[in-house]
Amino acid sequence: MKLLNELKYMESHEWVKVEGNNARMGITDYAQEHLGEVVFVELPEVGAAVSAGDQIIVLESVKAASDVYAPVSGTVVEVNEALLDNPGLINESAYDNWICVIEMSDASEVDNMLSASDYEKTCE
């Protein structure tokens, strides 16, 4: 599985890139591999208030729907609309194809996230 050291990870298979007070997020390469071909993405609404752990995104493969959770609390400020027409981008590159950006209300939540190597261990 592919991992990027500069990212933070959740045990529930989301990745986070901290950009100042914003958290850009997507799903990990491991998650896309297990999900199979993504054929549908349901994005959160820009402006939505979310709490860490909320189910905010749904990814659907040919076989099934899977929930994706907010890694941090805050407000959704950007969503990747390119995924609506081309959900398979997530399979092509899970790290280039972010899903949304959350403006964090509590930046300390990032401290609880996993490093690439710790995340890798949870996937074993």
Binding site: G36, E60, V62, A64, A65, L84
Partner: protein, 365 residues
């Protein structure tokens, strides 16, 4: 979990194994849509050894089979096959099956894997005939399905039997595929031309390898349960537990042409005759999503502010590239062009009833 004789092959080929009604089988080897496309455009090879095989033999074999199924099998020629529901007295479906007529004293019934035991018990308990011996021979048989427009040319390279002689819904026994003895029928569950091949379990791995190496140049891929489901779904072939079940009659499922009420007698006849006379109150309808969303089995269908039914199968359809579904709904809503909503994660998402099947069958008849 139970394993088929091809378990090692699935592991070898990196099949993603899942629990399918107690059987450890591959949902996909590469990608569902790749395998799906291979079957539509070239060929795919499925391990369907989990299917159940039950033989009926004796002087009363024909009478017995006529008694338990809704279709009329008395019109079959030797080596001809009929698709049929098998019903309870109330018209609900025990299972759907293929009846292979070897002669009027010997039939092979092919049933759904997860229903095999139930069907076998049901058949035995309804055998009121003197000379009809019913045997569950599922263990002895492996079954491979070779499906797709290139199926015949691939199989033909491995046998001297002229496969063009096997017509749609017909079969031949003792077909030698290299040195493997098999029963070969022109049947399938994909909407494409193709064959189902029954053989001794011990020979299955060898035939699997033979077919894959012979078919490589013609685009043959091993295909898993995922593609099997999307292929049958696009063609609107019913799946037990979804479009058909103990609580759904063949008339509601749109399988009326396989219910021969003119037949003298069969289990479920009275209930089905009554339902036909009164008209069905619900029906399986095909639909397409108008708004964004993928329908899934068990989602509710809503119209005029109330629930009018539920989705039986829903998926992204790989060939048609649309989000489609089948649903069991009140009959007033089953007409083409009718609009209703699918309740997806507590949101009403618009859909419209469309014609079935979604994908026209490409059978060689």
């Amino acid at each position: 979990m139970k394993r088929t004789p091809l378990y090692e092959k699935h592991v070898e080929q990196n099949g993603k194994l899942i629990d399918f009604g107690g059987w450890e089988l591959p949902v996909e080897y590469s990608k569902i849509t790749e395998e799906h496309d291979a079957v539509r455009n070239a060929a795919g090879l499925f391990d369907v050894s989990h299917m159940g095989e039950i033989t009926v033999e004796g002087e009363d074999a024909e009478k017995f089979v006529q008694h338990i199924v809704t279709n009329d099998i008395s019109v079959l020629n030797d080596y001809q096959i009929a698709y049929t529901p098998m019903c309870y007295a109330d018209g609900g479906i025990v299972d759907d099956l293929l009846v292979y007529k070897i002669n009027n004293k010997k039939y092979l019934l092919v049933v759904n894997a997860s229903n095999t035991e139930k069907d076998f018990e049901w058949m035995k308990s309804n055998n009121q005939f003197g000379d009809a011996k019913i045997e569950n021979v599922s263990q002895d048989y492996a079954q491979l399905a070779l499906q797709g427009p290139n199926a015949q040319s691939i199989l033909q390279k491995l046998t001297d039997k002229n496969l063009s002689e096997i017509e749609f819904y017909h079969f031949a026994e003792n077909v030698m595929i290299k040195d493997i003895n098999a029963l070969v029928s022109r049947t399938g569950y994909t909407g494409e031309d193709g064959f189902e091949i029954y053989l001794a379990s011990a020979d299955a791995p060898k035939l699997w390898d033979l077919l894959l190496s012979e078919g490589k140049g013609e685009g043959l891929l091993p295909a898993g349960l995922g593609a099997r489901d999307t292929l049958r779904f696009e063609t609107c072939l019913p799946l037990y537990g979804q479009e058909i079940d103990k609580d759904i009659t063949p008339l509601e499922a749109g399988l009326g042409i396989f219910v021969k009420l003119a037949k003298e007698e069969f289990i479920g006849k009275e209930a089905l005759a009554e339902q036909k006379a009164e008209g069905v109150k619900r029906r399986i309808v095909g639909f397409e999503m108008v708004e964004r969303g993928i329908p899934r089995g068990h989602y509710e269908v809503s119209a005029d502010g109330r629930i009018i039914g539920h989705v039986t199968t829903g998926s992204f359809a790989p060939t048609l590239k649309k989000n489609l579904g089948l649903a069991l709904v009140e009959v007033e809503y089953a007409k083409e062009g009718t609009e209703f909503d699918i309740v997806i994660r507590n949101k009403n998402v618009k859909a419209v009833a469309i014609k079935k099947p979604f994908y026209s069958k490409k059978y060689k008849k």
